[in-house]
């Protein structure tokens, strides 16, 4: 850490000189010094690059190196350093500053097709590293800034916000993701994928508000099946943390929501087992063993491997709670808006 400190201080000294050059109007010298400072700062961060327990040092150093590169107008370097910074486990406040630096990258309208092809190739890859994911986030933002109006029309309002929210969510920056998911939903209030992501992120970041939102959705006359399923999961998460008295008070509501969701035609093969798992666990906690067995039998018929552990439960004990936690998050359907509109190419 001492070497990191020494190199970082050299970088800050170079930064002071760059700022002094800029304030006396010597743009060329200032850029040269900012670039030298950025290289030093990257060198300071290098020993921490592959470690996951060096936060916030790691992300602070990459943020600083990226900001210095942007001041040096070396935008490719800046982009690479933002990607590195976000690929760690940065505190969300530092991640927000790294995301804000993306806005300083130039966007050239002539590059849209290239940008789109790059997007499609990254999305088509079998797996993505955290750095790829951060690169995808940057690519979505840059593509949004240069997308022609006909592409934006075809993609629909909120498309890029949603995609960036997905990237941030996969990187674990849930509050940043929630902001963008909310914006996507504001732009396209009826989009079920946007609604689902928004509700799931609210569940993770702010359960009381997620509960309010789930209540609002379930009061609507028509709600898509998977949003009903997500609402059931929100209520189940809340009740998992509630006292036995509150659980009993809310139990009828959970059963009613769960039955409605399970009966929905649009619920789909992914969400239905999650609803059934939560219903079964609720019956188990309530002490209704016959109803529990009935629901778990339905569940086993839909997905025997994944749910085998549940059907062996005898009571609502620690093991049941632990298993229940696995069914609090419905995977985002991979079919939802995963690629840009193809015939725009």
């Amino acid at each position: 850490m001492n070497a990191t400190r020494e190199i970082h201080r050299e970088a800050m000294d170079l930064c002071d000189l760059a700022l002094a050059a800029r304030s006396r109007g010597d743009a060329e010298e200032s850029r040269r010094l900012f670039l030298a400072a950025s290289r030093k700062e990257e060198e300071a961060a290098a020993p921490l690059a592959e470690t996951s327990d060096a936060e916030p040092s790691r992300s602070v150093l990459y943020r600083s190196a990226a900001a210095l590169a942007l001041d040096a107008e070396d935008f490719e370097r800046g982009k690479a350093l933002i990607r590195k910074g976000l690929s760690g486990r940065a505190p969300e406040q530092i991640a927000a500053q790294l995301v804000a630096l993306i806005e300083r990258l130039p966007a050239d309208r002539g590059d849209f097709l290239r940008s789109l092809r790059e997007l499609i190739s990254v999305l088509a890859a079998d797996s993505r590293s955290r750095e790829d994911e951060a690169g995808l986030l940057i690519l979505f933002r840059q593509s949004e800034r240069i997308a022609p109006p006909e592409f934006l029309d075809e993609a629909g309002p909120g498309y890029f916000d949603f995609q960036r929210a997905m990237c941030l969510s996969r990187l674990g920056y849930e509050r940043l993701a929630l902001d963008l998911a909310r914006r996507a939903l504001d732009r396209s209030p009826g989009d079920p994928a946007y609604g689902l992501l928004h509700l799931e992120l609210l569940r993770r970041c702010d359960l009381p508000r997620a509960l309010e939102e789930a209540g609002r959705l379930m009061d609507l006359p028509e709600v898509p099946g998977h949003l009903q399923a997500a609402s059931v999961i929100v209520l189940a998460t809340h009740l998992d943390r509630a006292s036995d008295e509150e659980f009993e008070r809310e139990f009828p509501r959970l059963i009613e929501w769960g039955r409605r969701a399970a009966a929905s035609r649009e619920i789909g093969g992914v969400a239905l087992p999650f609803v059934l798992a939560n219903l079964g666990l609720a019956y188990l906690r309530h002490g209704d063993i016959d109803a529990t067995r009935g629901v778990f039998a339905e569940l086993e018929a839909t997905s025997p491997e994944k749910f085998r552990g549940l059907t062996a439960l005898e009571g609502y004990d620690e093991r049941a709670r632990h298993l229940g936690e696995q069914f609090h998050q419905i995977p985002q359907s991979p079919g939802f808006h995963s690629s840009p509109p193809a015939h725009s190419l």
């Binding site: 990191t4 970082h8 304030s23 916030p56 602070v60 900001a67 406040q93 500053q97 300083r104 509050r175």
Partner: protein, 175 residues
């Protein structure tokens, strides 16, 4: 007291410290407090204290080099905030990092504090040339929201310092 800045800190060179001391002296003079001033400190848990500062002697060259009021206010505010954190909490600036729009400061009790480690504390500074208590509260609220919006429970300690040269007054909050 402002001379203390010119001696430097682990992460602040004497040159940068001197620049902050000059900027703070120019700001205090412009706000009607030339020479020496008693800066009221509003500290966490309702504690009130004062920082007595003696400005460094100014000449026209120094005044001209701090003619940009925005830059001077920011640099001067950082100098006052750093001195207040030293006087009231015994914190030294052990690191700083570049954000593009300025620096953020990391505090520790000794130079052995690892850089940006979770046992150090971040210091966010905001400077106001003249604004009064309501503007100070507004700025503090802005900074608080900025820090806690995505990090309701930061993994490191954080302080906000809002320095106002008109009264003069400094509000320090712990997050």
């Amino acid at each position: 007291m402002l001379n203390r800045l010119s001696a430097g800190f682990p992460a602040i060179t004497p040159a940068v410290g001197t620049m902050m001391a000059e900027a703070a002296s120019v700001c205090l003079e412009q706000a009607g407090h030339p020479g020496a001033a008693s800066i009221r400190l509003d500290l966490p848990e309702g504690r009130i204290s004062a920082l007595i500062v003696e400005a460094i002697p100014l000449d026209d060259r120094i005044r001209r080099s701090h003619a940009n009021e925005t830059d001077a206010t920011e640099a001067g505010a950082c100098g006052i905030a750093i001195l207040a954190m030293l006087e009231e909490f015994g914190f030294l600036v052990v690191e700083r990092s570049y954000q593009g729009t300025g620096f953020d400061y990391w505090l520790g009790t000794s130079e052995d504090t690892p850089p940006f480690a979770s046992d150090s504390a971040a210091l966010e500074v905001s400077g106001i040339m003249a604004g009064g208590p309501s503007e100070i509260r507004r700025r503090a609220g802005e900074k608080r929201t900025q820090i806690t919006r995505y990090e309701p429970d930061p993994p490191y300690r954080a302080f906000i310092a809002v320095v106002e040269f008109g009264m003069p007054c400094t509000l320090i909050e712990r997050l």
